[in-house]
Symmetry: C2
Subunit: 319 residues, 2 copies
Amino acid sequence: MCPSQEKKLKMPLGEEKNGACDRSIYVNNPHLESMTEDILYHFNLGTSTHDLPAMFGDVKFVCVGGSPWRMKSFTEYIAKELGLSEPNADYPNICAGTDRYAMYKVGPVLSVSHGMGIPSISIMLHELIKLLYHARCTDVTVVRIGTSGGIGLKPGTVVVTKQSVDSAFQPRLEQIILGKPVVRSTELDGELAEELLQCGKDLAEFETVIGNTMCTLDFYEGQARLDGAFCSYSEEDKQNYLAEAYAAGVRNIEMESSVFAAMCKLSNLRAAVVCVALLDRLKGDQLTSSHDVLNNYQQRPQVLVGHYIKKKLNASKKS
Amino acid sequence: MCPSQEKKLKMPLGEEKNGACDRSIYVNNPHLESMTEDILYHFNLGTSTHDLPAMFGDVKFVCVGGSPWRMKSFTEYIAKELGLSEPNADYPNICAGTDRYAMYKVGPVLSVSHGMGIPSISIMLHELIKLLYHARCTDVTVVRIGTSGGIGLKPGTVVVTKQSVDSAFQPRLEQIILGKPVVRSTELDGELAEELLQCGKDLAEFETVIGNTMCTLDFYEGQARLDGAFCSYSEEDKQNYLAEAYAAGVRNIEMESSVFAAMCKLSNLRAAVVCVALLDRLKGDQLTSSHDVLNNYQQRPQVLVGHYIKKKLNASKKS
């Protein structure tokens, strides 16, 4: 069944076939129709300067993460996993003309960095959704592969997000539009989350759990850390807040999942969030593990999502 | 007179002399006292791995901006302006071990990138404030040199911020701490803003104005743009909102000034925001100017702040 939207301002690109339709990408903006060109400024790409359908039309998976280095290393990793890597291959940054975001592509997999925090990922997603729309992509799955602080988890545990919740543990995102609050749902694709959890079990290389993810606007005071430049609360206040979060099903805390979930939902993109917990926040705030250990942890979401993509592509070859 | 704070949890470093005191940097966090080391994770620096007083003790000016490339080019520029550049000098990135932020230093001037949006700059500022505190810096001035969208301004105009206001045009920042809202003042240093405006007049190379700056959490819907992936309002709604903003004294819109102002105020840092308006939002939303033109515009805040730093350093040599 085609997804319906109450206020569908622009039709999706998918063609109806026997009452069903391809899973297409929506942009909900009637103004785009009247624009002669669309400049995706923060990607240094545009509809009149680049042939977006030729460059991106075959994209089926988009992986996003905060760090540009990590997104490049993911591209190298997935190329090998999919048998698409060539000796001495270098993957050029498609957004080389700007330092705002980095973007890499290998086969049907696009990898994009988004910086830190809701505003930074939100700019990237506006432009990514328009890019996929202009490129006439269909059936796209987007996964955020990130890092986070865990609650009551062994460091290195991978968390697949069930619901992205706010600081009051509600699955909602309040955005301000024309000075007024608008509340959006942060619901993610339940089936996709279960499939990713299963991938973690298949691999059996590290612990993978499913749980709620709290998304905050700040890393220090916003996450009850005691080691910021300012702190007006006690260790006990911190522990009480994290215990409340745990009781509400929160297993990790990061800074992008809510707007990621909300924007993917609005544009009909199948979406998931897979983050590794770098530490257990009940036991501390600072990242004291060695560089090598942290580096190993950061590769786990890549390995899990790499396994998922391989599985999906193999299944589609067979069918 | 020493600044007073109602809840002074930690004493400043400044020594009292004849009833006056050096302008010192506050951290308001009693927990820092009990930490044996402080890892500034997103800078890849720390108190037990780096001699922060030796590396940063002489810093008197910190310039921050979104783009790492721009902050490197500012360092090259200010080195020349201050006569501190050497032939073929390269300025190494002090945070080379991470891709979260970039940091450069020449003489008393530190230059740090902060990415896009309030959460991204907030992480950087927590660690910058602790860095300056650990390094025992005094009398530090911090200036954000950025880009913005103008309202009713000729593209290329430089705006010195009088007040940083929220989407309802109020000089306040609401932060969530332990799940509860805390409101902080976004007041900036009025005297410093006037001095910077005067520098623009001295230079007479481009238009410089003083005005309020609206700080938003989103670039597209949050700034009433019509060209995002989603837009549920009309051109008229947009124009009405921007007209309201203009009537409230807003002359430009960006995404970092409010938390920058709030955190600098809390830590007793003299702070200013100087942003160039890349376009007039009353006339459009997309950045259609050529790369060269935009590049020239982006250099203007650097030129203005470079002039200010030179003037201040010359004055302190004479006195």
